[in-house]
């Protein structure tokens, strides 16, 4: 080249000879360059195919093979007889993975058409997609029929990001009856995924426990995922399965709950807003833990729709609150058996008689009893629920003598049971009042507290524990897991004689001339003992049923049976149910009947359900259909789970809804005589206007059985 370079620049005159020479040389150059590039290509290929072969082989494999997790089947939750309360049902499902979808709206519309979703379902689906972070799968539909499932499956190539699979979904055979106890499952939220970076959480079809036992036992129930290696095309279509490792189902959990009883009790509550707790007096095992109305845990599993949320949130019976554990109520006269034990511990003879002239005078104030009971001893005071007896006795021993006994029997206590959340309420005493309101404990406070009013607030569950301890005389510790009863706590300081006094009183409430005699049972000689309670929500304007449901009294009943050898203890709380004997006691009677004669109990219930418009599940479904018809897609968008969480936090932060506000002593002395030892709102009402003559009397009307 150098030669031609030198020659050609100076030489402007070329001849065909020199050009021929130049061609020969240059064609050699071109040929060598071509050969050189050929060598370069061969070398490059050798580098890729021979030296980097391993790396690219791996990459080709990771392209080709897609490892997908098979969600493990969740462990079952069983009742004491091994009947499933929560199980898994095989189903066909369709999920969407928003990050892999090319045209979200269009695809969803297509899928909605194929699956024949109604407008409300379509809207809920849109909400779920909006809320989802791209990588997580969103359930489009589950429990599909084969035809619907197949219609989507064949269209998959046009629907990137849509996944169809056969899998298992959670099934709660008893529906709302176990909703609060068991909880429900749902897809993991982005926050849950951030906390626990298990890829299982974003696997389509995988659900985590969101509430109740499902949440508490999440680890045990979860199981180990299986895996499926499949060959996929670039567009994600599965060509063939390579190998499959089966999933390991989660552990099953056996509860002390009696499934039939739980279902019966929940359904027996009917249209009321109520809680029923049944405890085994021998072991402390919880046999039923019901709170109604409730939601349908089956329908919560795919997320809570707008309309569902609207329906549940607007219900004044608060279906989202587990009233058995988190509802706090003034217990009213159901405290009297406990108070009677406390009196005996402090030297009050059960035979000492107190004259009830229809009320009790404390200083310048007169506290009215429900009736003129005349001369009563401890037994008949319990039987007739005479307030005067308890006021005069508490005035003698002081409430600070009663509060420790209340706690000893379980009131105001939190228990070591595996439930999501419990609230322990308030057993007030002087120290508590000073800490909370910076006020001295007054004699009036003692009077109020002794009959379960004023500052006292407890949960239905605590009342059941108290009943079981009074009935058995043992310091029973409630338990929920079958086969693992908790050992008794330190022995209770009551003598059998002291307990017998209370047992006699409670026996007579139902079987004598007491307040609960309408709810007497006698099944082959099995008798029940109990105690009614009627707790004021606000000052009574008129007795009995008032128009405004929210201002009616809470109706309580505690009981145990059989009376000679207590086996079952129960508490029933009916919110705003009126008299204890009229709302709570009949429920308790039927539930107790179920325990000894289920057939008879079912006959009673089925007849009632006809009048109520079906079972709890049927009524819930009907109500939802009505909401769909009424509101359609017009409900506002909410994030139900966040709302529930917020509501819980708010509940925990605030004093119980029923707890009294600091009550100033009455300002006007002329009103003082009529002043009730009741809660603050009552007093304010009294001052606000003239009250009807018959409504003023009693702070507590638990004794009255119409």
């Amino acid at each position: 080249m150098k030669i031609s370079f030198r020659r050609l620049i100076p030489q402007t005159h070329s001849t065909s000879g020199t050009l021929r020479n130049s061609f020969d040389r240059r064609s050699l150059v071109v040929g060598s360059v071509q050969g050189g590039i050929g060598m370069l290509l061969a070398a490059r290929m050798a580098y890729l195919a021979v030296f980097e072969n391993e790396k690219y082989k791996l990459e080709a494999e990771s392209n080709r093979v897609n490892l997908s997790l098979i969600p493990p089947r969740r462990g079952w939750i069983l009742d004491r007889h091994g009947t499933p309360l929560a199980s898994n049902r095989a189903d066909f499902r369709v999920d969407a993975i928003p990050a892999r979808m090319t045209n979200v709206e269009q695809e969803l519309t297509t899928v909605a058409q194929l699956l024949q979703l109604d407008p409300v379902q379509r809207q809920d689906l849109g909400d779920k997609i909006d809320k989802a972070r791209g990588f997580a799968a969103v359930e489009v539909a589950s429990g599909l029929e084969w035809e619907r499932f197949a219609s989507v499956s064949v269209r998959l190539p046009d629907l990137p990001g849509i996944v169809t699979q056969r899998g298992f979904s959670r099934d709660y055979p008893n529906g709302p009856s176990v909703a609060h106890l068991i909880g429900y499952v749902g897809p993991a939220t982005a926050e849950e995924y951030q906390k626990d970076h298990d890829p299982l959480l974003i696997t389509p079809g995988y659900k985590v426990g969101k509430d109740g036992l499902e949440k508490v036992f999440e680890k045990e129930l979860r199981g180990k995922p299986g895996a499926r290696r499949v060959e996929v095309t670039a567009s994600g279509r599965i060509v063939r399965e390579l190998e499959t490792r089966e999933d390991t189902p989660g552990q099953s959990i056996k509860l002390t709950i009696d499934g039939g009883l739980q279902d019966y009790a929940s359904r027996r509550i009917g249209l009321e807003s109520a809680a029923v707790v049944v405890i085994d007096c021998l072991t402390g095992g919880i046999l039923a833990l019901c709170s109604m109305p409730a939601f349908d845990p089956n329908s919560f599993a795919d997320g809570i729709g707008r309309l569902e949320w609207k329906m549940l949130n607007e219900d004044d019976h608060i279906p989202l609150l587990n009233k058995a554990l988190r509802g706090l109520y003034p217990p009213g006269s159901t405290m009297k058996p406990m108070a009677a034990l406390a009196f005996q511990l402090h030297g009050v003879s059960p035979d000492e008689r107190v004259n009830c002239p229809g009320g009790y005078r404390l200083g310048r104030r007169f506290f009215r009893c429900d009736a003129v009971h005349g001369s009563v001893d401890m037994r008949s005071a319990i039987e007739h629920s005479c307030n005067t007896y308890f006021w005069s006795m508490v005035h003698r021993v002081g409430y600070d003598a009663i509060a420790p006994v209340a706690r000893l029997l379980g009131l105001g206590q939190e228990f070591d049971i595996p439930v999501a959340q419990q609230r322990y309420g308030t057993i007030p005493d002087a120290a508590w009042k000073m800490r909370r309101f910076h006020q001295e404990w007054s004699a009036a406070d003692s009077l109020n507290a002794s009959i379960g009013q004023g500052y006292v607030s407890v949960s239905p569950f605590q009342m059941a524990v108290m009943t079981s301890r009074i009935a058995s005389g043992h310091n029973l510790q409630p338990s929920l897991i079958y086969g693992q009863p908790k050992p008794f706590g330190p022995a209770l300081p009551f003598t059998p004689e002291q307990l017998a006094v209370v047992h006699d009183g409670m026996f007579n409430v139902v079987n004598g001339h007491g307040t609960g005699r309408g709810s007497r049972i006698d099944i082959n000689g099995v008798l029940m003992a109990g105690k009614t309670g009627t707790a004021q929500v606000r000052r009574m304007i008129s007795r009995g049923h008032v128009a405004d449901w929210k201002s009616r009294d809470h109706s309580h009943f505690i009981c145990y049976a059989p009376t000679d050898a207590p086996r079952y203890a129960m508490s029933v709380v009916v919110e705003h149910g009126g008299f204890g004997a009229s709302a709570a006691a009949p429920i308790a009677k039927d539930v107790m009947t179920y325990l000894f004669d289920p057939g008879k109990a079912w006959d009673t219930l089925l007849a009632m359900e006809k009048a109520w418009g079906g079972t709890a599940q049927e009524r819930l479904d009907a109500r939802y259909r009505q909401f769909v018809a009424q509101y359609g897609v017009g409900a506002p968008k909410v994030s139900a789970e966040e709302e529930i969480e917020k509501a819980r936090e708010a509940e925990d932060a605030q004093p119980p809804a029923n707890a009294p506000q600091p009550a100033p002593e009455p300002a006007s002395p002329e009103n003082a005589a009529d002043e009730q030892p009741a809660r603050a709102p009552a007093r304010e009402d009294a001052g606000a206007g003239p009250a009807p003559s018959n409504g003023q009397a009693a702070p507590n009307i638990s004794g009255a059985t119409p």
Binding site: V30, A49, A60, N63
Partner: protein
């Protein structure tokens, strides 16, 4: 020539080149058969048929006389430029860019035809140019115009790859025609300066992206870098002996884009391995060496420039395509001769082969006569 049982017409054909070429086309057909999932349709069968048809055409071309080539050079060139203008016009009227003319029975891409045509017209030009003028402006400017017109039209389409192929074919012909070396060196220097400018001004966004991606394919593995990455995976995972016929996962599971056209080499390499790649390189080596030898053996300037230019055109296809699939060049839409599925590229390459065969025949005749 000794007496033999094969007819003289057959015996005269350049079998040394043709037999490896048949091998290559067969391999191409096998790869296309596999790429279609084990079916002759739609690729393999038409590939073989096209080759057969165009082989007949090449043999016909090889029978054409040197004088006819000389005479037809300018009219052919002019006709194809006219077609390029027509394509531009149709594109402008249709409101979008277009590269092909629909002839009814096939679509014709005039820019492809321009690749051999530019070699032909330059060979004719330098033959008629008096040798002393080779080093003067008269040797450069008309040739530059001849290259520039079609190149500009093709760039407008826009089709950078084909424009580069035209320029490359033209430039190699000019180089072999004996133009002063320092012109090429200074043109190269100018190009080095001009490339960054052109990169930011002339190129379309998608072209710029391709270049950027080439420089760093992993930067956008799912976007424009996807092609290069998947192609390298296909070639690399093939290893020495390949995964076996019909077992390529990259192509069969559609990870490899354009598995039957531009990236057919990757499809082949996955199933046939490094050995298959060497075979392909070997056949192209045979073909191009034969072409260059034909050029060197031919006694006159026109023939030698024509044959060498044709070889260079085929070489450009091969080199750019293989460099692209191995990640050594940006993704430009240039198919691999005799293997990629596509009628136009087969036509162009067979015109080149036919032309080289024609020169070969002229050589044999002159040898026979001398």
């Amino acid at each position: 020539m000794s007496i033999s049982i094969v007819p003289e017409v057959v015996a005269r054909q350049p079998w040394r080149m043709l037999i490896p070429l048949f091998g290559l086309v067969s391999l191409g057909a096998a790869v296309l058969y596999s790429a279609a999932g084990g079916h002759l349709q739609p690729y393999a069968l038409s590939h073989v048929i096209r080759f057969g048809v165009f082989l007949v055409m090449a043999i016909v071309i090889s029978r054409v006389s040197r004088d006819f080539f000389r005479m037809a050079a300018y009219p052919i060139y002019g006709g194809i430029v006219a077609l390029l203008v027509l394509v531009e016009l149709i594109g402008a009227v249709g409101g979008g860019s277009q590269r092909w003319l629909n002839l009814g029975f096939m679509t014709l891409q005039p820019s492809e035809l321009m690749k051999p045509a530019i070699v032909l017209v330059l060979a004719k030009f330098y033959e008629t140019l008096p040798p002393p003028m080779t080093g003067s402006w008269r040797g450069l400017v008309p040739a530059g115009v001849l290259i520039g017109i079609p190149a500009a039209l093709v760039i407008l389409q826009p089709d950078l790859g084909t424009a580069l192929a035209i320029c490359f074919g033209g430039a190699v012909t000019m180089f072999l025609a004996g133009l002063p070396l320092w012109w090429f060196l200074s043109a190269g220097a100018a190009a080095i300066i001009a490339i960054p400018v052109a990169f930011f001004t002339l190129l379309h966004d998608y072209q710029r992206n391709r270049v950027l991606t080439f420089l760093d394919p992993e930067s956008d593995p799912l976007g424009t870098g996807y092609h290069i990455t998947q192609s390298k995976i296909a070639i690399g995972s093939g290893g020495v002996f390949g995964k076996g016929f019909g077992n390529g996962t990259q192509s069969h599971l559609q990870y490899l884009p354009e598995a039957h056209t531009d990236f057919v080499f990757a499809t082949m390499a996955e199933e046939w391995g490094f050995l298959g790649g060497l075979f392909v390189l070997f056949v192209f080596g045979v073909l191009l060496t034969w072409g260059m030898n034909v050029a060197r053996r031919s006694p006159d300037r026109f023939s030698s420039l024509l044959a060498a230019g044709m070889a260079a055109t085929v070489f450009f296809y091969v080199a750019i395509n293989l460099m692209m699939v191995m990640g050594l060049a940006p993704v430009v839409g240039i198919p691999l001769p005799f293997m990629s599925h596509g009628g136009t590229s087969m036509l162009t390459n067979m015109i080149c082969v036919g032309t080289m065969m024609a020169v070969n025949r002229w050589n044999q005749r002159s040898n026979t006569f001398s």
